[in-house]
Symmetry: C2
Subunit: 194 residues, 2 copies
């Protein structure tokens, strides 16, 4: 066995998973430790045995989302080849990561910057955005994207579409991750490519 089926109870991982679920239902600031305790079936104080506190739960969740995105753009396929093809690959992979780490990315996309933890996450997110933005600009310079729309606007709309997945996607219900990626690429790129 890979995991020993010890006795009952929670661990840092299960607490995080449950917490992120509640954060997404009620919003991070709208969730009290009492809410988390109820969802976990324990008392408030039991949570502190497994994790250092509320903000650390958020930090771990946000890192999980951001790490996935940065691992992607570190891949060779994000940096070599024609820009328009790299862009399509990044869009497809982004959809896959969004769906795979749905609750974590959902949380990330709703961060406001109310704490050092949130500010740090926002900065990393902006770095990812800059990468994508440069990619679109390159594809436009290559003449592979319709020239009548500002590349900055294209970036916004394209990844606005991708990110909007977090607002409605439910695993197991309806379209698969590949279905969604395929639909976005078809609609957007058929409308974008020259």
């Amino acid at each position: 066995m890979t995991t020993s089926p010890r006795r009952r109870g929670h661990d840092p991982e299960s607490v995080l998973r449950t917490a992120v679920g509640v954060f997404n239902e009620r919003g991070y600031d709208g969730t009290s430790m009492e809410d988390l305790a109820r969802a976990l079936g324990v008392t408030k104080s039991a949570i502190y045995y497994h994790v250092p506190g509320k903000e650390q739960l958020l930090a771990r969740a946000l890192d999980r989302a951001l790490d996935g995105l940065f691992e992607m753009i570190a891949d060779e396929r994000a940096s070599s080849g024609r820009a328009i093809d790299r862009l399509e690959w990044v869009v497809r992979r982004s959809v896959a990561i969004l769906v795979d780490r749905l609750p974590y990315v959902t949380l990330l996309l709703r961060v406001h910057g109310n704490s050092p933890t949130e500010l740090r996450a926002l900065e990393r997110r902006r770095e990812f955005d800059r990468f994508v933005s440069a990619l679109v600009k390159e594809a436009a310079a290559d003449g592979d994207i319709r020239p009548d729309i500002d590349p900055a606007l294209v970036t916004r709309l394209l990844f606005g579409t991708v990110n909007s997945i977090t607002e409605w996607y439910q695993p197991g219900r309806g379209a698969t991750a590949d279905d969604v990626a395929e639909a976005i690429v078809r609609i957007s790129f058929d409308g974008l490519r020259v």
Copy 2:
């Protein structure tokens, strides 16, 4: 003069405007009445002279967003004519309303359902979504939309794109509302129409 230039101080309208601004910066639950007071340059208690409370501020803001959307779909151009053309009109009008009432719609799109006020807003929003969803389904039935993508998915992606405007649009900076509407229609509909 349309507005009498009385004396200094705030009124329910200016309090609402400022409050919605802070709500969008910090999130509704992340905003305290103390935060609002600071932004208004008055004491907490002064707010209660103009407005009944925090939740009422939210309720008024959400109504402002929702009223705009429902006035639109009550228009004749949303109900008569070919479905695909009605859809394009609704998309263009949605962008216009989103930009015109940006802070209010932004707040609406971030509602979780943590209070009766929020639940009521969510229900009205779902009603709007059903209208749009039916419109896309109709256009698909007319054979005016590519048949290889599920109409439900098309709806999600199309209005995911439109709604994502609230995440980045800044009035006066960059594209105008018409620019954005035009870009969305070109990209999406060139990729959608058969």
